[in-house]
Symmetry: C2
Subunit: 117 residues, 2 copies
Amino acid sequence: MKTVNLAEKLAQFTTHWDPHVVAQYNDNDVMVVRFAGEFPYHLHEETDDFFLVLEGEMVMDIEGAPSHPVRAGELFIVPKGVTHRPRAEAECKVLLIEPKGEPNTGDPATAAAKPHI
Amino acid sequence: MKTVNLAEKLAQFTTHWDPHVVAQYNDNDVMVVRFAGEFPYHLHEETDDFFLVLEGEMVMDIEGAPSHPVRAGELFIVPKGVTHRPRAEAECKVLLIEPKGEPNTGDPATAAAKPHI
């Protein structure tokens, strides 16, 4: 049991689209991640996808629907089965929650490692 | 599907220890809440308890163990079964995640209503 400072965790890496696990909530990984550029469109068949912007601004593109800007202090939850693509013109820092072991791309073949820090 | 601005949601009420649901992530309620003073010691037998401080500072007291300060930009997850008490000397704004229907006091008889806003 310990307090987790998100800025300190984010300072431990500089890579983009590279989620790092900072805590666990029930069977979920709580992660920090830096976004810049466009992530591929993908979906999660069995889970919602939780995004909270900590710093900067991102856009959540939804396939076949309007895009949603998400700024610092705002959250966006993508329901399971919905094809989406986060993107950020400038670097954006995000708190991400997904079930433990869920591939961030929706596909184990292309997923990031999600190291614990 | 929509972007949720946490400050706008918090501006909709002024009561303390009164969590309001702003989104759902799988079977969890994502809530905003204002803390001030001391909450009763309690535990959740079946779930972890997720706290992220958005503004201000709180202390998480753990029965029989050291207390943990938690400041803006910091999170604290209380493991299931651990008796705890959040408190805040000055008002503190928090993002709280608990399974849908979980009583915030650990006891349905004393739990807050958790309205959706």
